[in-house]
Subunit: 216 residues, 2 copies
Amino acid sequence: MAAKRTRGVRAGLTRDQVLDAALALADREGLAGLTMRRLGAELGVEAMTLYHYVPNKTALVDGLVERIFTTAYSIGGTWREALSSYAERLRSTLLEHPAVLPVIVRPVVTQATLDAVEEMLRLLVDAGFPLGRALDSLNALTLFVIGHTSAEVAIGPDSSPEVDPDRHPLMVAAVRSGAGADDYDRFRYAVAAMLTGFDELSTGGDGRRDGTRPLH
Amino acid sequence: MAAKRTRGVRAGLTRDQVLDAALALADREGLAGLTMRRLGAELGVEAMTLYHYVPNKTALVDGLVERIFTTAYSIGGTWREALSSYAERLRSTLLEHPAVLPVIVRPVVTQATLDAVEEMLRLLVDAGFPLGRALDSLNALTLFVIGHTSAEVAIGPDSSPEVDPDRHPLMVAAVRSGAGADDYDRFRYAVAAMLTGFDELSTGGDGRRDGTRPLH
DNA sequence: GAGCGTATATTTACGCCGTAAGAATCGTCA
DNA sequence: TGACGATTCTTACGGCGTAAATATACGCTC
């Protein structure tokens, strides 16, 4: 396909193209499959060439994390709707790139995301949240979504060991009834619980004056 | 100290000793510093010797995760107290071994932890939680703790970029006021919010004496 | 045009890594 | 004693991230 490269012959790459290819490669082959040599091959270029667009591999992975977050923010509606849909959007974005999850440890705050954060803070403050609690709430919600989605991805069905029904009757009953089988249902329940808790603790329940209901 | 090893001269290791040393090494040097060669050196043994106690490096890391979880469970008191202190214990255990956090994606359910889980479920069910929601609540709380603690560890102070006070006044005000600076405070706020939300959504506020129909 | 600096790519090489294969030594039991 | 299994070391292989040096091509000034 591509003519063989020789020194100095431009490949016409950009940092964005490198990141795109890196994300695609990680999605396809897993995080361990993302190596500089393979990424280079993917782009028709030697590994060392990539170091002109990225200082080192750590920075490349950081770039992936940032990219994922900048596509996840969303706003609009009441504060409950905004936070709820933000949580769902973040979850689905993360699920699209499960390979990157292990290295996502915190929301990377970039210029691109600040606008959305600012608007969410505005919604919360207008609803009666003290400013500090508004920030805390946003933070906690994000961290929960990351944790939950990580667990969703980490396993398909269930890998629990054998359980003694006499010693652990509730465990057995819960598993038998299929409880916890639906990740998305569990996710929505937990998000609703967090939002309800935020409301109660930070506005004394005022936030629901507009008639918004916690779930469904 | 230790005389030089020769072939066949026993070092008297056990799997537990290997895991102990691995955890200590990871805590001291970071996850990337945990290599088979270095771990071997730590134990006065060649790298390949470790493969008699552990099938491969992945299994070794899995062993670390399991070990951390089995020491984190705790129970007692009301359901709120139990879940709250469980969250705190898990957090502090994770903080003691921050290097392992990136590979903790899910609570490893082992025989050792089942008793504690069963008792927590009992507390929740007695308080009026539908069984499925009890399990969901426990799960959500665990995942939140993992996510939150990961973020705590991932950063010391703050590395936010420069923020334009005109575009993002709330952001600036929040940071200036020192909001979100205290990780532990933020953690407790979020846990309290979750518990309040669980209560509201799963028992109707304070124990299902009114027969409120729970979700599900 | 000619000449030259700068950006872009490659080549080569070094020291790590996980681990497969096989040889060496030990304790134990017949 | 001799055989055997358990334990350890030695050697080796392919792959990794990346430092250093080198080669090519484009865009600028004259």
